[in-house]
């Protein structure tokens, strides 16, 4: 069990959740619709994955209004940011073939 792939975070290492985490890692905050349009998934699928990330404590969901329109804003928690940083460093270990530090 020494291969770094075993240390990959199962919660992040899934296509849609990876896209969500990557975008939120680069953003201070992002709107639900922006993620949906960029990742090209349905509202329901995106909601499902956001719930998984929220349960894991990686994503913070804030609801509000812009004018009369409801908006949902998403941001990474500190825990989510740490988890994503650790996840990408493991990916680099795998692709560069370097042993874990």
């Amino acid at each position: 069990m020494s291969h770094p792939r075993h240390a990959l975070d199962e919660i992040i290492h899934a296509p849609v959740r990876l896209s969500i985490m990557a975008m939120l890692a680069a953003a201070e905050t992002a709107e639900f619709g922006f993620l949906r349009d960029t990742i090209e998934v349905s509202d329901s699928l995106l909601s499902k994955h956001i719930q998984t990330l929220e349960k894991a404590g990686y994503v913070r969901v804030t609801k509000g209004f812009v004018g009369k329109r409801p908006r949902t804003w998403l941001a990474l928690t500190d825990e989510g940011r740490d988890a994503f940083q650790s996840y990408t460093s493991i990916l680099r270990q795998i692709t560069e073939g370097t042993p874990p530090g």
């Binding site: 199962e10 990876l18 890692a25 680069a26």
Partner: protein, 147 residues
């Protein structure tokens, strides 16, 4: 079968780049907004300090409209790039400072009918007052090019 079985490390890294590229692309719109504001604010100060009275009145209306457009633009942003979100606080603080300098210069130093030297001073004040917006635009354009 786990849902990530066909997601290789290389593919995952490519997706990270692609997804973060979408956020960066969006922040370039913010840079263009700063650039537009810079042009508008420079024009406002040039018109206020050096233009005839009628132009000054229109300049006040134009800067008011630009400010409203700015608020609408900011409220419609769908994503805020992490680095640029932080930069916006320093740019806004610096812009408020240089605007106060411009206003004080206009109230207490600038003559009603400026000669050539005062005209040069007016141009300098206009450039200084709007400089934080240009700085913000350049910083964002550079950082999105580098990453």
């Amino acid at each position: 079968m786990p849902e990530h079985d066909d997601l290789s490390a290389e593919a995952a890294l490519r997706e990270v780049d692609r997804a973060q590229g979408a956020v960066r692309k969006s922040s370039r719109r913010g840079a263009r907004f700063y650039l537009g504001m810079w042009l508008g604010v420079t024009g406002y100060w040039l018109a206020t300090l050096l233009g005839p009275a009628t132009v000054k009145n229109y300049a006040i209306l134009a800067i008011g409209a630009l400010t409203v457009a700015g608020f609408i633009y900011i409220s419609r942003q769908r994503v805020y790039d992490r680095r640029h979100y932080r930069l916006s606080f320093s740019v806004t603080a610096a812009f408020v400072g240089t605007t106060v300098i411009g206003a004080l210069y206009n109230m207490f130093l600038h003559p009603q009918e400026p000669g050539p030297l005062w005209a040069v001073a007016g141009v300098l004040v206009a450039l200084i007052a709007s400089a934080p917006l240009l700085y913000g635009a350049v910083r964002i354009f550079r950082s999105t090019d580098d990453r």
